[in-house]
Amino acid sequence: MAERTSKLCSLRQAADLIRDGDRVAFGGFAIYQKPMALVHEIIRAGKKGLTVVGSVNSVDVDMLAGAGCVRTVETSYVGLEKFGLAMNYRRAVQDGTVAAVHYPEILAWDRFRADAEGLEFWPAAYLGGSDIVNLNPAIRRFENPMNGKPMYAIPAAAPDVAVVHVPAADIYGNVRIQPRHLLPQSMDIAVSRATRNVIVTAERIIPTAEIREDPHLNVIPAFRVRAVVHAPYGSHPTPVLSVMRMDDAFFREYAEASATPGRFGAFLDRYVRGVDGHEGYLDAVGRARLDALEEGTGGGK
């Protein structure tokens, strides 16, 4: 009998699915459930010229900006919320090495809905007078054919690849999310429906038999997924809702390190570039510290 293909692979194999210059979308939202293990691997692999397309971004974009991997950022927000400003991103935009293309938060989300519906753009009636439109030639004005009023076509997000970090998946790419979820998990769903080139990193790899027990929780079906990576604590220092808390102390260390390029370079060497993959990262952060972040029923890696 023909055998189904496992998509389980290493973090490096998954990162190598991303080409220099690709448009990349990360799941999660703001400082919540970001696929940081893969972000780290993109840096180790030395990817260049990426465009990150998102709605609300944070340490994902900031780290890639600080490591020189990103050329363009299309989003509504890059910051660290209660931990402060995204200083690498700020410096990169100010010195011109990163181009910031600003989109309103929900329209940035709608750009992924356009892809999901096979549309070239998402329409909005309400951008007149805004520098969002005045400064972005990719947004085109058109006339609403029903009433003649001005409308704006917001280009689809068009990611070449989407990356999400999730509580559990099987080796074929069926993704299980939390029994109760919020908007960061909804964003995982949104980006995963904008492409069939989805990279999944998972806290746990579970048997397909277990996947079949609760199909209503499996919001990303296998056929959308290109690669599955087992990456425990793969969102650190951002949380996985009901599974792992935010690592506040590490975030503060990150924010302090990103105050200058020199200190940030040392931070990257210590945690990302100078360690042996994700396991090396977890060792550098400290296993006991990571264990202490676990909560709820999602542990047991």
Partner: protein
């Protein structure tokens, strides 16, 4: 009477809220931003709900409907953490699209802040200097373009009232006010009401029916001269401007005993 700036502004805010409205507030962090963008809105909405607007819907962080803040011992600092997930409320927006549709007019009012606001009510939270080569890159427009263009009305909440915040022209129009007045807004096709008030530590501004900015009231203890010195555009004749009404004893009791019994919104 003893009251705080937050209580003064919360009472003034409550008076502008109508019964049955849907109000949206985020979860700002940092002392000044939290006071103006989260605490004053929650206090004002809580007061309105307990006086004249029992059918008000409060959307905390945009997704928790009518949360029971009396269950909290401290304000959360994270909008998507388990403490808010488990906070008793009436509904949770788990997905976008979800429980409300702002494009269809579901949000009656919300609160927004930025580093610069101008006389037309345009707000900037994106960058300082030429946006093509910014001198200072800020966090980005976030949800403010939608707030200003589509919501019923916007309260601009400015924790600092200095000349650098109240400018002749903002460097980036992140939220659109009244370029060309209300007629200008109509020509732009903006469906929402736009900014209606600006709350600051010195005064409350409002926009009249033509979309023109005026000083609605000056806070007790603030002089017109002080206001002019700290505002980067002409305020016109301030001689007839009343003082901001102080909260009544009953309003203060409701704020302290019912809206915020654990003191989590006080600074």
């Amino acid at each position: 009477m003893n009251y705080t700036m937050e209580e003064l502004l919360a009472a003034a805010l409550a008076h502008t809220i109508a019964d049955g409205e849907v109000g949206f507030t985020g979860l700002a962090t940092g002392k000044a931003a939290a006071a103006y963008n989260t605490n004053i809105p929650l206090l004002g909405m809580g007061l309105a709900k307990r006086t004249h607007a029992p059918n008000l819907t409060v959307l905390l962080c945009g997704w928790s409907h009518n949360p029971d803040l009396s269950q909290l011992k401290a304000m959360p600092e994270c909008e998507f953490a388990n403490e808010l997930l488990n906070l008793p409320c009436e509904a949770q927006m788990q997905d976008y699209p979800g429980t409300w549709a702002y494009k269809a007019g579901d949000i009656d009012f919300a609160f927004g802040t930025g580093v610069q606001v101008d006389r037309e009510g345009n707000l900037n939270c994106t960058c300082i200097g030429d946006p093509a080569h910014p001198k200072v890159q800020l966090v980005g427009p976030i949800f403010l373009p939608e707030h200003f263009a589509v919501f019923g009305r916007e309260y601009i909440m400015m924790p600092h009232h200095e000349r650098r915040n109240f400018v002749g022209r903002v460097d980036h129009i992140s939220g659109v006010g009244y370029p060309g007045g209300t007629e200008g807004r109509r020509r732009l096709g903006l469906p929402g009401g736009g900014p209606k008030y600006i709350f600051t530590p010195r005064c409350i501004f409002a926009f009249d029916g033509a979309g023109s900015l005026y000083v609605k009231s000056i806070h007790p203890g603030v002089t017109p001269q002080e206001l002019e010195e700290n505002t980067g555009f002409d305020l016109g004749d301030l001689s007839g401007v009343p003082a901001t009404a102080e909260p009544t004893a009953e309003e203060l009791r409701i704020l302290r005993e019912e809206v915020d019994p654990n003191g989590i919104l006080r600074l």
